[in-house]
């Protein structure tokens, strides 16, 4: 563990960050696509 702890820790942090970013981006794109297909668009603030 003395040799590999930092390498394993750093690699894990990179993998977790990349996965979190990728899944979030993918879901965001799917939400936009769904809204386009359903013709849902932003129609101004409630008080406008």
């Amino acid at each position: 563990m003395d040799q590999y702890g930092i390498i394993i820790g750093a690699a894990l942090l990179v993998i977790v960050s990349a996965c979190a970013w990728f899944l979030g981006t993918k879901a965001h794109a799917e939400v936009r696509r769904f809204r386009d297909e359903q013709h849902e668009h932003f129609r101004g603030r409630p008080d406008s």
Partner: protein
């Protein structure tokens, strides 16, 4: 012209009507409130803190530096897979409702009870953990009797507030989310500026265990209970989905982002707390290693002030968990899935909260530690009081994750059979990555379910096994053939509108 906010609420209500349910609960929660309730139940200042000693004794600092991100990675997959289902089927029955629609009423019934057992144990774990901190901070003797008295008082406060109203609780949940982030900031800054620190490499390389007769790697895996229990309860965003505006998008983001944000802030806190350890052996041997670190690093008064901040976060966490559990009870009882369903499916006319469900959640949560204390008293040579807390949290973790796993497994089966196509997806989905993420999530759930019942967590296995056996007996004696799964509340749109109108009076 239709008001955009009104349009969103009407759309939410229309989707609920499609599933045969009336809008009985007040739809008051925004996206942030929905995120806040899951973030508050995950509560990095509860799970990671109250089980800090368990993690440290199992694998030492490496459990914090490597164990936390390892668990976070797989929990991200579970959360993303659940978020997809919440978007597709936005009802407060959530896991139970998803399992029923995908696999039939029996699967739904099993998922519901596993979820309920997990949630009840979660409330018990959170409030009992909070009592373990409040009792010494108040200067009371750390005895099982005092812990139980403080624990009972905490449960009472949560039940009363949840009975009084969703607006109050929603405001407190919003505040709780901000409070948790501010609380972690205070902990990190206090330790960064005022505590002596170990070198950073020490946290990543220092192995340590007090568990005998087991190889280190196995003890390390057992220590993952700390992170895994912390990451529970984020299904709350789905349980409160009928109270959330723009539910099919806001609730899935609530599930997913609560895990992501907890991952980041939880890691920061654990690293700085672990860096502040002066003597690893003495810390691990302390009654409460987390309190010990603060007292050693920051001194008595300052250390206690920071610990009060952490303890209040635990109280917020318990409050949110009672909210989530009561909604689960309400939804399950609405579909006649539990004894005395007619009672627990009622909504308080005055407050529009599932009041009976709130009190049932509080009472059952109080009874669980009582049961474990009775077991310890009955078998004093085989069991010890120190095993109570890991057992409660272990039951909660396994119950909740199995209930997460059932709908995920059934969805994979439905995809394979071609029953579930992309047309069934809600707006929040993972597209082509859905199957891979679901599969990874299921593998992890299977792994931790086995891991957390193996020694030294065998008490968890006995109690969970006993509970599961009792449920199977209940199913065959009283439920089989009678339980029909999710039931529409009315046969027509007009009847649903009538139910809603009666509540508006």
């Amino acid at each position: 012209m239709t008001h955009p906010a009104q349009d969103s609420t009407d759309r939410d209500k229309a989707v609920l009507h499609e599933f045969g349910y009336a809008q009985q609960l007040l739809r008051e929660m925004g996206g942030f409130s929905n995120f806040a309730i899951s973030f508050s139940i995950i509560s990095i200042l509860t799970g990671a803190v109250t089980l800090y000693g368990v993690g440290l004794n199992a694998g030492g600092p490496v459990v914090m530096s490597i164990g936390w991100p390892l668990v976070t990675l797989f929990v991200l997959f579970v959360a993303a897979a659940l978020a997809e289902l919440a978007s597709a089927i936005p009802t407060s029955g959530a896991l139970y409702h998803w399992a029923s629609l995908l696999g039939g009423p029996t699967w739904g019934w099993i998922a519901a009870w596993l979820n309920l057992v997990g949630l009840i144990a979660a409330i018990a774990g959170i409030d009992y953990g909070c009592a373990q901190f409040i009792t010494p901070l108040l200067g009371l003797e750390e005895t099982p009797r005092n812990f139980m008295l403080v624990f009972g008082a905490l449960l009472l406060s949560h039940a009363i507030l949840n009975h009084i109203g969703i607006r109050t609780v929603a405001r407190l949940n919003d505040f709780s989310a901000v409070y948790h982030i501010a609380g972690v900031a205070v902990v990190v800054l206090a330790l960064a500026f005022f505590a002596p620190k170990q070198p950073v490499s020490w946290v990543f390389t220092q192995t340590f265990t007090t568990i005998e007769n087991q190889p280190y790697w196995f003890a390390f895996l057992g220590g993952l209970l700390q992170a895994q229990w912390t990451y529970t309860g984020y299904d709350a965003s789905a349980h409160t989905i009928e109270e959330t505006k723009n539910a099919r998008v806001s609730a899935p983001w609530g599930i997913y982002l609560s895990v992501v944000i907890s991952g980041i802030f939880g890691y920061l806190m654990l690293i700085f707390v672990t860096l502040a350890i002066k003597d690893l052996g003495a810390t691990a041997a302390a009654t409460n290693p987390f309190i010990y670190i603060f007292e050693q690093a920051l001194g008595g008064t300052f250390g206690r002030a920071v610990l009060w901040i952490v303890t209040l976060a635990m109280w917020f966490c318990g409050l949110s968990c009672v909210t989530s559990t009561s909604r689960m009870i309400f939804a399950f009882a609405r579909d006649k899935g539990m004894p005395f369903s007619h009672l627990f499916a009622t909504v308080s006319r005055r407050y529009r909260t599932p009041a009976a469900g709130v009190w049932l959640a509080a009472i059952l949560s109080f009874l669980l530690p009582c049961l474990i204390l009775a077991l310890v008293a009955a078998f004093p040579t085989r069991l010890s009081f120190s095993k109570l807390y890991p057992a409660v949290t272990g039951i909660s973790t396994i119950g909740l994750y199995l209930s997460y796993g059932i709908p995920l497994l059934l969805k994979l089966r439905a995809v394979r059979k071609g029953v579930w196509t992309s047309r069934a997806n809600g707006p929040w989905s993972l597209g082509g990555w859905s199957v891979a993420v679901n599969t990874a999530a299921l593998i992890w759930i299977a792994f931790i379910t086995v891991l957390f019942v193996l020694p030294p967590n065998d008490l968890t296995g006995y109690i969970f096994g006993g509970t599961f056996a009792a449920l199977i007996i209940l199913y065959f004696v009283a439920v089989r053939g009678h339980f029909k799964g999710p039931l529409p509340q009315a046969k027509s749109q007009a009847e649903l509108l009538k139910i809603e109108a009666e509540l508006e009076e």
